[in-house]
Point group: C2
Chain length 94, copies 2
């Protein structure tokens, strides 16, 4: 299993535009094979810091996600709404 924590730092004025894209991305991604969980979160201390926390069955499932039509179509729109991002890939130990 692979755990992904993808943090995005948003442009405040573009947050609504960003959220409209996120809704579609979450809806489509959750239908993907090997997607165990895919949750969009907001930092409790900073509404413009958000994080996707995801669980994937395998590297193959995650790689397929990055090539999925909705991912390829929607993620460029997300990048227009943020100043920065950080993505971490984890494996569960305990």
């Amino acid at each position: 299993m692979i755990v992904v924590v993808a943090t995005n730092y948003l442009i405040p004025e573009k947050k609504q535009e960003y959220m409209d894209v996120v809704k579609k991305l979450v809806e489509e991604t959750r239908k993907e094979k090997g997607c165990i969980s895919y949750v969009f979160n907001e930092d409790m201390d900073d509404p413009n810091k958000v994080a996707f926390i995801e669980k994937w069955e395998s590297k193959e499932a995650l790689d397929a996600h990055f090539k999925a039509p909705h991912f390829v179509e929607l993620t460029p729109k997300l990048s227009e709404c943020r100043t920065n991002r950080e993505i971490n890939f984890y494996k569960e130990i305990i």
Copy 2:
């Protein structure tokens, strides 16, 4: 619900000592009231970067966790084994 992502950057030579403490902390924490999940993860690109990814039912449950005897006893030992840490509190949006 509150989601916690607590990242620790380890002193390599102290990793085994750190892991011994983590095992006890995870075991005890999972017994706590309001602990939905409490998972210890390792960064796939850096074995000395680790992250607790946690889900708590409420702020009250998380506050009780920070006062729990095992937490108070064990976490100082973790801090001896790391160079840095970052803790983020999230709320689930979608």
